[in-house]
């Protein structure tokens, strides 16, 4: 049984159908890249997995349990599915350490000492041992994004969603973030990422999902998919990047 299963997911914004029946299963330890043109629905799909977008039709099943859109279910879902955003979204009034400690303390009711221990561990893991007491506006974009990753990891999620985590970064800061993501993948973390870093996707991911006009257009092993795209759309998408 897969960790997360998406069945026939439909989602519209007003008249616009963004997701038109998505089926996707995410196995434990799998690293999946969602690629496609902007407007293809890949970010929306990612956001449905932790309930930031409520689906119109279909089913999300996590660990065998179907998720409804009731608050209790959503909170339970989000305990298992963490997320990192393009814009970092750190809380500006807390230090890096406090950003990471906040949710374990208030949501998981961990003691301050326990939360701090985990937070320090995570910040060390992402290479920010010396920046724990800094505020977000005292950190570079790459550092902020690594704090955001540490913050998500401190909740010990089973799956981590990454929504274009390097797209807002200056080119020279991209690698420090990708290195952390790569490390997580190597450690066996289940990852689903929307990315434009094709080379990274090719190297790190187990499965590539190419989205086109709200549907999964092509999927498979990254090496194969990149080497011999079966559809003209993927062919032109990959070709356009090369």
């Amino acid at each position: 049984m897969s960790l997360v299963e998406l069945h026939a997911i439909h989602k519209s914004f007003g008249e616009l159908q963004v997701l038109k029946g998505i089926n996707l299963s995410i196995d434990e330890g799998q690293v999946i890249a969602l690629i496609g043109k902007s407007g293809s629905g890949k970010s929306t799909l990612l956001r449905t997995i932790n309930g930031l977008e409520v689906i119109d039709d279909g089913a999300i099943i996590v660990d065998g349990k179907k998720i409804s859109d009731r608050d209790a279910d959503l909170l339970g879902l989000r305990l298992q599915v963490g997320m990192v955003f393009q814009q970092f979204n750190l809380f500006p009034h807390y230090t890096a350490l406090e950003n990471v400690m906040l949710s374990p303390q208030v949501v998981k009711k961990q003691s301050k000492a326990d939360a701090r221990k985990v937070a320090e561990e995570m910040l060390i893991k992402v290479g920010l041992a010396d920046k724990m007491m800094h505020y977000p506006d005292q950190l570079s974009g790459g550092q902020q994004q690594r704090v955001a990753i540490a913050r998500a990891l401190a909740m010990k999620p089973k799956v981590l969603l990454c929504d274009e985590v390097t797209s807002a970064l200056d080119p020279e800061l991209v690698n420090e973030v990708l290195a952390v993501v790569r490390q997580l993948a190597e450690e066996g973390m289940t990852l689903v990422m929307v990315t434009h870093e094709m080379r990274f996707a090719r190297e790190v991911c187990d499965k590539l999902v190419f989205m086109h006009q709200g549907r999964i257009h092509e999927t498979g092993d990254p090496e194969e998919v990149f080497a011999s795209p079966k559809t003209p759309e993927l062919s032109s998408f990959v070709g356009g990047l090369a």
Partner: protein
């Protein structure tokens, strides 16, 4: 015949003015604390997913913002007894100030909440925080920080507005001035002095609020 100024005529009544200052301060402190608290709750309710709650608060805000403070005060003091709610002058004055500031600060705080980037709220949601936890830990402090100058101004306006409470014989500063003026007909002198007192009180209040703001929003590491 020129008017002879005699500020000395006010001196025997200094205790009345002092009592007025004290009462005005008390009304302002209670009104500000409870009123801003009401405003924070109002702003939270305005963002409620239950339309009825949001609409009720909306009606309250518009009702208060589009009617004169004096009428609100009269309604509470002279009108409510018809419904069996009989309040003393001071109770009516403080209630009117709370209700008034509550409405204005609801809108001010709401603006601050809307200025918090939506991405931060989504990040908090993704960390499995509940709506109340998000409001308390992620939204309210940055929101208040953004609107603190506007909120401070509104509190000063409410303090100055408290002078209207003299009309129901709440014995605040303006009441004291009116009383002295009725005794010795030294209208120029007494209102001149009271103007100065209000001016000083406003400046002091602004300073206090600024210091309070600095304290509240100071970067204070919690760990």
């Amino acid at each position: 015949m020129a008017y002879k100024f005699d500020f000395g005529a006010i001196v025997p009544h200094w205790e009345l003015l002092l009592d007025g200052v004290i009462l005005t301060t008390e009304l302002t402190v209670i009104g500000a604390v409870v009123g801003v608290g009401l405003g924070i709750m109002g702003a939270w309710a305005r963002a409620s997913r239950t339309p009825v709650i949001s609409q009720i608060v909306g009606v309250y805000v518009e009702l208060i913002r589009n009617t004169p403070f004096l009428i609100q005060l009269f309604f509470i003091f002279f009108g409510l007894p018809a419904l069996g709610v009989k309040l003393t002058e001071l109770q009516a004055a403080v209630l009117a100030m709370i209700v008034n500031l509550g409405a204005y600060s609801t809108e001010i705080v709401r603006a601050g909440i809307q200025a918090v980037p939506h991405g931060q709220i989504e990040a908090a949601q993704s960390l499995a925080m509940s709506r109340l936890q998000i409001f308390r830990y992620v939204i309210i402090l940055p929101a208040l920080q953004k609107i603190w100058p506007a909120l401070s101004s509104q509190i000063v306006i409410v303090m100055l507005g408290s002078s209207v409470c003299s009309q129901i014989a709440a014995e605040e500063l303006t009441f004291g001035a009116n009383y002295i003026q009725a005794l010795n007909f030294r209208a120029f002198e007494v209102y001149f002095i009271v103007t100065g007192i209000y001016l000083v009180m406003s400046i002091l209040l602004r300073m206090v609020l600024k210091v309070l703001g600095n304290y509240l929003f100071e970067r204070r590491r919690h760990v």
